[in-house]
Symmetry: C2
Subunit: 227 residues, 2 copies
Amino acid sequence: MIHLQHIRKLYQTSDVETVALDNISLRINQGDFVAIMGPSGCGKSTFLNILGMLDNPTSGKYIFDGKDISNASEATLLEIRKVKLGFIFQSFNLIDELTVEENLELGLIYNHVGRQDRKARVRTMMERVGISHRGRHFPHQLSGGQQQRVAIGRALVGNPLLVLADEPTGNLDSAHGHEVMSMLRELNNAGTSIVMVTHSGEHAQWAKRTIQLLDGRVAGNDGEATD
Amino acid sequence: MIHLQHIRKLYQTSDVETVALDNISLRINQGDFVAIMGPSGCGKSTFLNILGMLDNPTSGKYIFDGKDISNASEATLLEIRKVKLGFIFQSFNLIDELTVEENLELGLIYNHVGRQDRKARVRTMMERVGISHRGRHFPHQLSGGQQQRVAIGRALVGNPLLVLADEPTGNLDSAHGHEVMSMLRELNNAGTSIVMVTHSGEHAQWAKRTIQLLDGRVAGNDGEATD
Ligand SMILES: Nc1ncnc2c1ncn2[C@@H]1O[C@H](COP(=O)(O)OP(=O)(O)OP(=O)(O)O)[C@@H](O)[C@H]1O
Ligand SMILES: Nc1ncnc2c1ncn2[C@@H]1O[C@H](COP(=O)(O)OP(=O)(O)OP(=O)(O)O)[C@@H](O)[C@H]1O
Ligand SMILES: [Mg+2]
Ligand SMILES: [Mg+2]
């Protein structure tokens, strides 16, 4: 389903060149559940952003469903992201001017779902992540963990084929963290592919395999081999 | 040193009243190291903001160093915060337009420290939290955990008497998390009082006592009794 080959990502600031990713190759198949761990600053979010087509690699190939999208136009990438990807951001990226309900509805914007159906799906998701009582609040009126759960809900409400989650339980107590992991496990059992960055060794156990990154490279992994 | 009595905090939005804190009383003595845990949304950040004089309780008393500051002016509170408090925010609150070095220097702005001394202290702190190579970067050019470490550095660089930390290790891998906790332990040994909100049971162990919050109330605590 996804084949990343020799991905490199460089950042250039006025006096420092950062090699954020240094030759990463990875295959992700339909139904996979991969956890990515590694020290702060080692390239996990950068990797996830490239996987999620939100950023371009400096060099290397990205094959998606057999098609080389390494140099695809923004329009093409948008089409793929719209129907296939759900992204949970490390810093949530909620829209401050929209209520919780409206933020969640954004996750259905490309699904061509009728209004009734959309309202019902949003209501179900709010119950699922435990924020039903916050539907008409704005993000700044929520706790950190509540904001995280809205971000999770928005990514999942549209039933994407591939979920990219950047530290989805970082602001959650163990009970809520467990809730989120069991929701991801359930989705994976139903066929959704998941790539999850996490600092929690405990939550990484829920995945089928774990990949360790270090200084922008794959340091080691268990389960299926990367190439 | 700090005595909070019967603190209540209510939020009113158009159709929902939230009782964020419902009768919290707590004593914090010089040299204390208190961990606060509890489910997402139970009132921990709200409590810390009131403790840090960034927010006023709806009712209840706040005695600081024997002085009732429950109705103190913003000017008075600012004076106390400036010299005595260091705050690590759950969402970091870094200044986007300033470099990492400049953000750290903000922590010394009230210390009347000469330029040479200020530069030296900032350099030491950057080494301490492992971001020396990022001094001239801007917050958006850092990883989530690097931003968190800048937030930590800024709060601690001025040697405050009381450190209020809202989930300071949420975005850190276990090695960096350990670094941060041992830095807090060291400060506490030297006399700094610390109140730390955390979702990590493991990091709560570094404190002298843990208080559990639930639905805006103190649910239980170990070590010294609260009143
Ligand atoms: N400005 C506001 N208006 C309305 N409700 C608010 C506001 N700020 C916070 N709340 C509510 O007050 C309650 C406590 O929030 P708080 O941020 O203290 O929780 P928390 O324990 O820090 O949670 P977390 O672990 O998720 O960070 C939450 O239910 C939250 O939605
Ligand atoms: N726009 C940018 N310009 C320069 N350097 C950047 C930029 N964005 C990220 N970096 C650097 O690239 C490296 C990898 O960042 P990334 O966000 O992928 O780390 P991470 O593994 O997700 O870390 P964390 O666990 O702290 O979230 C870091 O050293 C970071 O400072
Ligand atoms: Mg990251
Ligand atoms: Mg909080």
